[in-house]
Amino acid sequence: MDFGTLIDAALSSALGPQAIVFALAAIGLNVHFGYTGLLNFGQAGFMAVGAFGLAVSVTTWDLPFWVGIAIALLATVVLAIILGVPTLRLRADYLAIATIATSEILRLIFGSVEAKETFGGSNGLTGFSTTYKDLNPYNSGLDLGVVSFSRNDLWSITVGWSLVAISCLIVWSLMRSPWGRVLRSIREDEDAVRSLGKNVFAYKMQALILGGVFGGIAGIFHVLKQASAVPTDFNTTFTFYAYAALLVGGAARVLGPVVGSILFWFIIAGLGSFFSQATSGTDPLIPASIMTDTQASLVRFIVLGLGLMLLMIFRPQGIFGDRREIAIDGR
């Protein structure tokens, strides 16, 4: 067992681009679910719209990069409005089903043969990230001994964590304001807020748009860091993983989604590396009769599912949350 490799794998995932995508998506979910109590199960849809908004603008329509970014963000706002106008009046679990269905519809359409001309079919789109790459100021990668990053990853990490920091700052300054107080009150009891003369629907819509835009940014960043937009990346399971990351860190806490995503990827990548090493080689630690290397890659998902259950049952407030304040115990 090579613990150096293990730590490198765990740390480079936990601090690398993948965790950043999760952190951004989970910050959005935190606005939706953590603060406002909106059960958005379609965050992958918001990401997909952001991602393909950029990819289609630049690759298919030949528009400049920054116009593409603007279109991508606008598209997530439009999706939030289209989704919100009718569904925000629904019960929490109905909203969950409506959003999950929407994100699946989007994924299927983006990947369909019929729309291949626009969205590139199941292979998706590439060739929209030149501007992003050209902006890279680094000349080489970074090797810190325990963890190393390539030149591209280093650039993505710089951009990504800056985005995360700005997003957290925005969320923090909004949630300490009276606006944030209205959201937290809506999470607890809409009717009480309504009876005090607040337009609950407008607040929910604002929250949905804000969180959706964070999701869109996550999607944009995701396709930029890997230089391709592939529809299957934006499946429902992603949304669930992002929820897991949020809940690990603690909902309704500004840094909850960030710490959650880092921990999530540290555990996932660490477990992956551990079991992959334990099952590889001529004389593996775990004999192939018990676990093959294919199976080894699945152990982390088993742990993930079990972990999410146990977390929800025994510590729903996550690591940082305050149980007295957490939203997820109501009907």
């Binding site: 059960l39 009718p86 569904t87 009046r89 629904l90 019960r91 929490a92 679990d93 109905y94 969950a96 089903i97 409506a98 999950i100 269905a101 929407t102 699946e104 519809i105 299927l108 359409i109 990947g111 369909s112 043969v113 019929e114 809409e190 399971t237 669930f240 929820y243 897991a244 809940l247 294919t294 199976q295 699945l298 152990v299 998902f301 088993i302 993930l304 599912g305 079990l306 972990g307 999410l308 259950m309 146990l310 977390l311 929800m312 049952i313 729903p316 997820i328 115990d329 109501g330 009907r331």
Partner: protein, 438 residues
């Protein structure tokens, strides 16, 4: 190895095929790396597929007309097995002149297949014979066929939807692990069938029983204790998401990522019944599903247990105060609901194949069916599921002025759009009672 195109449409080709002279009795299956082709005439999906003997097949390296690797004539089983030296790209050509009288290639009459050999054993190639090109089929026939398969699909969804609806009705849980309960039924059928060597029918029965036990265990170990702790419904919903991830990964871990078939009734031909053509297993699926649904509905209406289930689902507090043992009723609901859902998995395995995410892929359609009909109502779940099944299968067949509203490649989209529209327009579903929402 199944070489029948799964979605073969009808166009009859004459039968039987007579072996030409010089047909080998049986070509030996080569031990080492080879390319194996089995020619079967699927006869447009009607009747049993028949092997096509006496056809000359040639394997070239890299391209047709390139270095010839070997040539062979199909045996009485319609099979050739030609050894190849190493991994790489090979082209198999079929000499159309050697095809028996009345047997024709379908699927664009392609007589060349390119194979990238990566496996050290058998590398398979497939030629379509007797499978009609869909465009040639009359619209009415396409419509009839899609309605039939839509109803079949809808009935399978309905079984799972009944399970989901029962559980939702009594516990209020939106169970995201419900798809995995379908998969459980499918995989259990496979395990009993292939693992323990039971017949498919017996394996199916055992899988349903296993489903019932699984439901009981779930309620005793997981959901019951959570209920008694007073865990909120949203928290329970997230627990069910974790449970779904857990189960799906465990299925993949133990069952593997591949798609597998049961030992019997795999490639059945269809017989004509008036305008409809059905294979025996499809008839069985219809009969089993309808009988199961009717029994459940009658039981819910007539039996004491059924009545208490409905009472609990109407008003748990009142039922509790009027002396009903709510907890034991909920346990029975889990047993019944999971068993029904496992049955859906059994039928799905029989209809198609077994895969670790067969149920997960169905989950949203089941939600759609239940929501469409009205959450928590039996008849609603039933009607909604049938509509969803029809929608998924029929919508791709319809084209308006050459424009297809729902392309076949994304046929689920139509059903999902309906799901959203229903939530917007009539959230209580078609048959649900109006109540205050939100």
């Amino acid at each position: 190895m199944l070489l029948t195109p799964s979605s073969a449409m009808a166009q009859a080709t004459p039968t039987p095929t007579t072996p030409a002279a010089g047909t080998p009795a049986e070509n030996p299956l080569v031990d080492g790396q080879n390319i194996t082709v089995t020619l079967l005439d699927v006869k447009g999906g009607k009747g049993e597929p028949a092997p096509v003997p006496g056809v000359t097949l040639t394997v070239f390296k890299d391209k047709s007309g390139g270095e010839q690797i070997g040539t062979q004539v199909t045996d009485t089983k319609g099979r050739v097995s030609i050894p190849i030296p190493a991994n790489g790209v090979y082209v198999v050509t079929l000499d159309q002149d050697t095809l028996p009288e009345g047997v024709e290639l379908s699927g664009g009459a392609e007589n060349e297949k390119t194979i990238t050999a990566r496996i050290s054993g058998n590398n398979f190639a497939q030629f379509q014979i007797g499978a009609a090109v869909a465009e040639k089929v009359a619209f009415s026939e396409k419509l009839t066929n899609s309605v039939v398969s839509g109803l079949k699909f809808g009935l399978i969804i309905a079984l799972a939807a009944l399970g989901l609806s029962l559980i939702f009705g009594t516990t209020g849980l939106t169970n995201f692990a419900h798809g995995e309960l379908i998969t459980f039924g499918g995989i259990m059928t496979y395990v009993f069938n292939r693992g323990f060597g039971m017949s498919v029918i017996l394996a199916g029965v055992c899988a349903v029983i296993a489903g019932a036990i699984f439901g009981y265990a779930q309620d005793k170990i997981l959901w019951g204790p959570l209920r008694r702790r007073g865990t909120g419904l949203i928290a329970m919903m997230i627990v069910s998401i974790g449970f779904a991830l857990l189960l799906r990964s465990v299925f993949q871990y133990t069952f593997g990522g591949s798609t597998r078939t049961l030992s019997q009734y795999v490639a059945q031909g269809r017989d004509d019944y008036g305008p409809i053509s059905l294979s025996p297993k499809e008839i069985a699926i219809f009969v089993i599903a309808i009988v199961a649904i009717v029994i459940v509905c009658i039981a819910m209406m007539k039996t004491r247990l059924g009545k208490s289930m409905r009472a609990v689902s109407d008003n748990p507090d009142l039922s509790a105060s009027s002396g009903l043992r709510v907890d034991s009723v909920i346990t029975s609901v889990w047993v019944l609901g999971t068993a029904l859902t496992a049955l859906a998995g059994v039928l799905l395995a029989l209809n198609q194949q077994v895969n670790f995410q067969m149920g997960f892929k169905l989950l949203l359609l089941v939600f759609a069916g239940v929501t469409l009909g009205g959450l928590g109502t039996i008849w609603g779940a039933l009607a909604g599921s049938l509509i969803i099944g029809l929608l998924v299968e029929v919508a791709p067949v319809i084209s308006i002025g050459g424009y297809q509203p729902v392309p076949a490649s994304i046929k689920d989209v139509g059903a999902l759009v309906v799901l959203i529209l229903i939530l917007l327009v009539r959230p209580q579903g078609l048959l649900g009672r109006a109540q205050r929402i939100g």
